[in-house]
């Protein structure tokens, strides 16, 4: 049995008296996209900093590909790529120079910057200073930089925040390709649709603790209710909206009765979003 890409046990960290991460535990498998969701101040960033070796845990352990992030920090960092929420590229350099710099720091042999730029859709603009790039281009270059070392672990912090659909699609495709090649992806995002679409499993963090962890489907199954929204025409000619809750014992009969007794105009299925579930569990939204 192979060891998980990330294995976290009872990890804790506090800033003074403020407990930012409170004894969290989870595993991430190789090739898995692990969505890490929570509002600002919930402990997401601190967790990422602990896992990427920027912070030293005050309690608990974190192993990346079997390497302890404290005692084998630099060795573990050799295997990871990180894309930050804020762009932190060398803007006076061009894209090739940015990528080559990091390839040399990772000591990547036979690195082909042009091939990587082709993958992120930046070929043709490789000689321009990064300062002239749009936000989407910079974010794609950040993603390319994270992939320079052919990492087995990718930490992506809001990788598509504020991007145009084309850039978003490019980044989603890169994530999918990376996971197919066995790379584990630790994804922190506010975008619930993105998390739902990309993540194999998601963890909700709230006040430093993981309050839910499962596949999006299982979470919806467990915490959310699926329903049918049915628009019917009444005898007086007016319309009315009816709701039939799914996954209950009387659902089939209710749907049958509705279609037999009412003049049904439209039917829409509806399921709980991850945000609905988060609010349901914590009593507060993800944007807060």
């Amino acid at each position: 049995m192979t060891s998980p890409a990330i294995s976290v046990k009872d990890l804790s960290f506090s800033y003074g008296e403020n407990l930012a991460v409170d004894g969290i535990s989870f595993d991430v498998a190789e090739g898995e996209v692990f969505g890490f969701l929570g509002p600002n101040g919930a402990g997401k960033s601190t967790t990422v900093r602990l896992l990427t070796g920027q912070l030293t845990p005050q309690a608990g352990t974190a192993e990346l590909l079997g390497m302890d992030i404290v005692s084998e920090r630099k060795k573990a960092q050799q295997e990871m790529g990180i894309s930050y929420e804020s762009t932190n590229l060398y803007e006076q350099l061009n894209a090739v120079e940015n990528l080559n710099l990091f390839a040399r720091l990772y000591k990547v042999a036979d690195f082909d910057a042009m091939a990587l730029l082709e993958r992120v859709g930046l070929s043709g603009r490789e000689k321009e200073h990064v300062a002239n790039y749009s936000k989407g281009m910079k974010q794609r270059l950040m993603m390319a930089r994270a992939l320079v070392s052919r990492p087995r672990l990718l930490f992506l912090d809001e990788p598509t925040d504020g991007l145009d659909p084309v850039s978003t699609q490019t980044i989603h495709a890169l994530i999918e390709t990376a996971t197919r090649e066995g790379t584990a992806v630790f994804l922190t995002t506010h975008d619930m649709v993105e998390a739902d679409k990309l993540s194999d499993r998601v963890a909700f963090i709230h006040e430093g603790r993981i309050v839910a962890l499962d596949t999006p489907a299982a979470l919806k199954q467990r915490f959310g209710l699926r329903a049918l929204k049915v628009e019917v025409r009444l005898a007086n000619g007016q319309t009315e909206l009816r709701e039939v809750t799914l996954d209950e014992s009387g659902t089939a009969q209710a749907v049958h009765d509705l279609f037999r007794n009412e003049h049904v105009l439209t039917v829409h299925s509806e399921e709980a979003t991850l945000e609905d579930i988060f609010i349901d569990i914590t009593g507060r939204g993800l944007q807060g």
Binding site: M80, T87, L101, L105
Partner: protein, 361 residues
């Protein structure tokens, strides 16, 4: 510490430095000032010593011998007063007023041959030595006397205020400090502040490169640039004399102190505004020994209070007075002491900054 990564990071520092206004400013400014000083005070385009002559008559052979001398320029004046005025304003560095038949009287002996000589107060030692040698040779040529038997006593009168150094010599210490400190301190510190502000430092330190690698690369680049700049400034100011090995040692130690101090300041500064605030205060302290050298009337011991004195003074002693190691050993020991203290502070600062970066992300 990884030497290969430090090398890569040094390449990045130099590449970014080529496009940084701050780097261009600190590299170009001392050179421009050197050229300006040399231009204004005459050392750049008037390297040949200038001798002024007034001949009361009968000294054509001697005057011609001086005019033919390849190492000096001679200018003739119609009167002793005109000669004195030319020396006083620095048109010539040395003036000789030859009495009638000076050379003949000298050749024949018996009677006393007299000449009044005048020296410009800011004439450099090099010019004076060349002129003296040229005059002695011309006298030998014109009179046929054997040099070591010349029956001449020369009494030198000086016009204007006495000064032991030219303006360019007085400004050289400040230029040297600017060269070493500006490039050694400003380039690593401003680059570090910039990297902190733009978040690239976090990106670097989450690769296998460590913060120590990053800091060492910045220190090394500051060290190299400050050394190069010091050599350029010494060359531009014709101050390359003395023991070159010793000179290089002082330049290296000075560059090391400046670059370590620069990295510490850059690391402590939260942003460029804070950094510039620190520099405004610290700049005076760093430049003080150089500024004091411009004003010889100020007691020079005050300069010893400032750390950069221990870079500047040995450099000047070696380049001006051909000082040996023993002459500057105390200054070098103090300089090394400063470097050791700064290295210790830097080691502590790296630990603090590592935590700070993690907290700020």
């Amino acid at each position: 510490m990884d030497v290969q990564r430090i090398w890569v990071l040094m390449g990045k520092e130099i590449r970014l430095g080529l496009t940084s206004f701050m780097s261009i400013y600190v590299l170009v400014m001392p050179v421009l000032l050197s050229l300006l000083v040399a231009l204004i005070f005459g050392d750049l385009f008037a390297q040949t010593p200038r001798l002024g002559l007034f001949d009361a008559g009968g000294n054509e052979t001697l005057v011609q011998a001086l005019a033919d001398h390849p190492s000096i320029q001679t200018r003739s004046y119609a009167s002793q007063a005109a000669l004195e005025a030319a020396v006083a304003r620095g048109s010539v560095e040395w003036g000789m007023s030859l009495e009638a038949d000076f050379a003949n009287v000298l050749r024949e002996g018996g009677a006393v041959a007299r000449t009044n000589t005048y020296r410009w107060g800011e004439a450099g030692a090099r010019s004076l030595m060349l002129i003296e040698a040229a005059v002695a040779r011309a006298v030998v040529e014109a009179t046929g006397l054997v040099f070591d038997e010349l029956p001449v006593n020369v009494e030198v009168g000086q016009l204007g205020k006495a000064s032991t150094a030219t303006w360019s010599q007085r400004l050289l210490p400040l230029l040297l400090i600017m060269a070493i400190v500006l490039s050694g301190l400003f380039i690593p510190s401003s680059s570090l502040v910039d990297e902190k502000q733009k978040g690239t430092l976090v990106a670097l330190t989450t690769t296998p490169a460590s913060l120590l690698d990053v800091y060492l690369a910045k220190t090394a680049v500051g060290f190299i640039l400050s050394g190069l700049m010091a050599l350029i400034i010494l060359a531009l100011n014709n101050a390359f004399a003395g023991n070159p090995g010793l000179l290089l040692l002082v330049i290296a130690l000075g560059g090391l102190m400046s670059s370590i101090l620069g990295v510490i300041l850059g690391s402590l500064s939260r942003d460029m505004e804070t950094f510039m605030g620190i520099i405004k205060v610290l700049g005076l302290v760093l430049y003080a020994p150089g500024i004091l050298e411009i004003f010889p009337q100020v007691p020079q011991w005050i300069g010893r209070v400032f750390p950069t004195y221990y870079i500047m003074n040995p450099l000047l002693e070696i380049s001006r007075n051909a000082a040996r190691f023993a002459d500057v050993a105390l200054d070098l020991a103090i300089l090394i002491g400063f470097i050791v203290i700064l290295a210790f502070v830097l080691a502590r600062e790296i630990q603090r900054q590592q935590q700070q970066l993690a907290l700020e992300g």
